[in-house]
């Protein structure tokens, strides 16, 4: 299989886009805001340029292709990686309205079921509930860490303060 240069070019292209954007934000700034960024950004553009040139040479020699097989493959669906990414994004958005404990429970349950391909659901249900509850007990109840709080945390606080 040829070297998948399409995937390898993602980071350099991101780096070039970000560096050019960064330069645009300091173009009219005082020299103190520019000096270090122009130096670092200049070197970054240079090494990205060298890498792109190298890729062009490899493509010309037929040693590589613009494929992205090293980044995306059928394995991402088979292993449940896409599902895990979806539940992780959901976790980030749901933790504020639902609170730490409930969001963690739902995330752990959904992710583990996806990764286990629907097997051992009762075990995963109990495990997710235990881990989420332990997380609440250690971080919120014992150490009063300011995690996002929701219905569960508020109810437990009311229950505990009323004895």
């Amino acid at each position: 299989m040829k070297r998948q240069l399409g995937g390898e070019l993602v980071i350099p292209i991101l780096a070039i886009v970000f560096t050019l954007y960064y330069f645009s934000t300091i173009w009219n700034s005082p020299w103190t805001a520019q000096v270090s960024a122009f130096m670092v950004g200049g070197i970054l553009l240079l090494v990205c340029g060298i890498f792109i040139l190298r890729c062009i040479v490899w493509l010309g020699r037929g040693e590589g292709s613009l494929g992205v097989g090293n980044l995306f493959s059928m394995d991402d669906i088979r292993t449940g990686r896409i599902g895990l990414l979806a539940t992780t994004v959901g976790f980030c958005f749901l933790i504020e309205p639902l609170g730490f404990t409930l969001a963690t429970f739902l995330f752990l349950f959904a992710s583990m079921v996806i990764l286990a391909k629907g097997r051992r659901v009762p075990f995963i249900l109990v495990l997710s509930a235990l881990i989420a509850f332990a997380g609440w007990a250690v971080f919120i109840w014992a150490f009063d860490t300011r995690f996002p709080k929701g219905w569960f945390e508020v109810t437990m606080k009311a229950l505990l303060s009323n004895g």
Partner: protein, 504 residues
Amino acid sequence: MGETASLLVEVFFHTIGFWWVIIPTIFLGLIVGGIPGFSAANTIIILMPLTLAMDVETGIVFMVTLYCAARMGAGIPAILVNIPGTAGAAATPLDGYPMAKAGKGQQALSISFVASCIGGLLTTLIALATMPLLARVGFYMHSVEMIVVMLFGISLIASIAAQDMVKGLIAGFLGLMIGSIGTDVVYATPRGTMGFLELYDGVPLIPALVGLFAVSEAFLIIEKRVIISEDAEPKSPNWHDTFEGVQIALSRWWHIVWTSLIGLVIGVIPGAGASIASFVAYQQSRTYSKTPEKYGTGHPEGLIAPESANNGVTSGTLVPLLVLGIPGGATAAIMLVVMQFHGVGFGPSLFQRQPEVGYGMFMAMAVAYLFMFFTILPLSRYMSHVTTVPTIYLAPLIISFTLVGGFVPREYMFDMYLALAFGVLGYIARRTGYHVAAILIGVILGPLLERYFLLALKKSGGDITVLFSSTLGNILWIALAISLLLPVWFERRRKRQATEVPAE
């Protein structure tokens, strides 16, 4: 002299009497150090009411033990699941994780514990003996000298880049560029913030650490059933592996000594800290090694260097705090606040007015390391089994607890999204052969380098030759040049010798 010695002995035995504080605090420190976002500093802040209610001696013992144990705890997930608990342990997985994957997690943990304990204990004793001398190091380290020290850390990017120089440099300089996000230090001009107010203070380190290491690793490990390689022999907990790790570490005692001294000296410099120390120690260890090609593949010396250095920093940080009243880091600053509440005044007169407090802090550190050696070592037998937990359970657990850890330091929901974005960047980097450690080194050292660079230029009125204007700075420049050139020279000599020896 005799009076001081008898006082030290008295304080030592008195501190041992606090075993009931030290032992539970060690376990608390291991937990908070191991979870990104829950640093010793945060925990002392959370437990501030408790600390203030304690008498001064108990408070000192508690804070110092928590500080040391958290530093050591940060290395545990770094070795077992490739997730450093703090930025100070970011160089630990470079060699620790390959050992764990090869089924040598127990040995790796033992090596890390021995290096941390001996490094921490040794530097504590050296700091105690040479306190007045060490305290002056901070006075000699100005912006120019600090730039060279930073470059020592950044030159690790070159070491990491050795396998593919261009890709390594892209990763490192992309990290430096990301580290430059935020307002500039002089005129507060926002740069590269994409309009997010949350980035005006720069890119927060914990979400970067969580994303680059934890989230991206969690997405990768699900490809395998367990972290440990399938061909590695599954083992039940045994003392043999633990003692093998101890033996490996002890046989490299000199390595522990000199890398922990790097940590001590860097720890004395206010604002430098464990992340710089561990990168510098790793880079120096690789430079002067006879087998630099083994680094990054699970080489014990690559694990010893960052662990002994970041524990050397703990004692170094206390020196400017006690002698000058200048805290060398966040935890030291919080200690200063708590101690001032108890009426302890730091500075040169501390050792005349309250010698039991001044020496007591170092003694608490020494005793904590002694206790840690005997309490943590047996645990390595069981901790290493994390690598055999099925990844379908481990990956979601890592993501949920580390992402929330990214939220804790600033309590912005934005930081969780940022950690996720870094996770995607880290995943792409790992899948396409870019080193996430090089990106992180850039993110950590980028803003520091810029600050000192600007300070130097402002002082000289924009004259770049200021970088070569001090004697100490020039000595450090020469040392940097030597440490960059030596590996090249060693490599050439090795190749020449290999070609001269006829094949049998």
